[in-house]
């Protein structure tokens, strides 16, 4: 069983990892759960939080930026214009590593269009938009784990 020191070290390592990723990303907020440890980092919403349920001590860290290991479902983006993940898995923005992305910022999409894939257990699920609009932002990063209900892209609705 890990001691408190070990948990803090794990948490700090995780926070550093997320910060490095957020630095190079447009994503505003990220959350990772690993065992009983949960780490969330955000760009402008104040301090990042690290959770470790008793009896493990919580580790604290401040973050100004981070990048997605897991895009949190607990987000501040209005859901009315976000296409969200229907399931947890790895998000892919293109059908294969060599292929162009399904959508990019500025793409016009219609309800039913495929905007990405989410892979779980070697099943690649097509993710389709249910709304018409123009892609304002790609929220999730291709190749990263996303949790169910996390935002994938934001749309300016038509």
């Amino acid at each position: 069983m890990a001691d408190g020191k070990g948990v803090r070290a794990e948490a700090n390592a995780l926070v550093e990892e997320l910060l490095a990723r957020l630095d190079t990303s447009d994503v505003r907020e990220l959350e990772v759960t690993r065992g009983t440890l949960r780490v969330r980092v955000a760009k402008s919403a104040g301090p990042a939080q690290t959770y470790a349920p008793a009896p493990m001590p919580a580790a604290q860290a401040l973050a100004q930026s981070a990048g997605p290991a897991v895009v949190s479902a607990d987000h501040s983006i209005a859901t009315t214009d976000a296409i969200t993940a229907p399931l947890t898995g790895v998000f892919y923005l293109s059908p294969s590593p060599q292929a162009p992305p399904f959508v990019q910022v500025g793409s016009v999409v219609a309800a039913g269009d495929v905007i990405g894939l989410i892979e779980a257990m070697k099943l690649f699920n097509e993710i389709r938009t249910t709304k018409n609009g123009r892609v304002r932002k790609i929220v999730a990063t291709s190749g990263q784990l996303v949790r169910a209900h996390a935002p994938l892209i934001e749309l300016d609705l038509a």
Binding site: L14, E17, R21, R34, G35, T36, V90, M121, E126, G143
Partner: protein, 252 residues
């Protein structure tokens, strides 16, 4: 003796397809059976279809991986299921069970399953499965190393073939048996028995594993269970993790 080439004859293909309840497309060479089957599945008019090839020039694995094939050495096929089976991700996982159950009556024992659906024999991977899901259909693609005597250097350490393990398997017979077994696992009523079979053949459970989930540092733990939805439960020093995506490497 390998009779897969018989499918080049339209009459044989038609008769075989009727027996299996699917229309069959046979290609001496194709980029990817999976791409072709997905194209067919998107067509509203398509019924159950099986696309099989003697060689692929652009086969898919997960992520950056490709599925290497030389002519007539592998069984390379993709099946369309329309409508999509219930619990399609679990169906994809259980495709590994379908392959083991197809091989067993052909005399291949000691098969193992590595999470989620890789089929292993004598310490090497012999088959892999990959699926694509849409709202109204699922396409499952399976590649089996059958006749290879040598494997490409980049996969030689982790892969093998039925031939190298001492089994001469007719790809046509294997194709028929895998098709029947896929139809079995497409029925959710058969999931409990298939899950039991997966657990029995697992080479992942009760082992130390390293899990690499996209974008985060790998973690290690002991694979302690396969959940009924197909997730791998890994015990770590910080609690249990449910793994549903990512690469799982068995350590020692």
């Amino acid at each position: 003796m390998d009779r897969l080439g018989l499918l080049a004859d339209p009459a044989v293909r038609s008769a075989f397809g009727r027996e299996l309840g699917r229309s069959i497309e046979y290609h001496a060479s194709i980029g990817s059976t999976q791409d072709r089957a997905r194209e067919l599945a998107r067509s509203d008019a398509s019924g159950p279809t099986l696309v099989v090839a003697d060689q692929q020039t652009a086969g898919h694995g997960r992520g950056e991986k490709s599925w290497l094939s030389e002519p007539r050495a592998s069984l390379l096929a993709s099946w369309t299921f329309r409508p999509a089976p219930a619990e399609p991700a679990l169906f994809a996982l259980l495709a590994g069970v379908a392959v083991t159950k197809a091989l067993r009556p052909l005399g291949v024992a000691d098969l193992g399953l590595k999470w989620p659906n890789d089929v292993w024999l004598t310490g090497g991977k012999i088959a892999g499965c990959l699926a694509h899901g849409a709202a109204d259909h699922v396409v499952i693609g399976i590649g089996v190393n059958v006749w290879q005597r040598e494997l490409a250097p980049e996969i030689a350490e982790t892969a093998t073939s039925l031939r190298r393990a001492g089994h001469d398997i007719d790809r046509l017979a294997l194709l028929a048996r895998i098709t029947s077994q896929l139809d079995v696992i497409a029925d959710p009523a058969n999931h409990p028995a298939a899950l039991t079979e997966w657990r029995r053949r697992s080479i992942t459970l009760d082992r130390e594993v390293e899990v690499t989930e996209a974008g985060i540092a790998p973690f290690r733990g002991k694979a302690v269970a396969l959940a009924d939805d197909g997730a791998l439960v890994v015990e770590t020093p910080y609690g249990q993790e449910r793994v549903i995506a990512g690469e799982v490497r068995v350590l020692g």
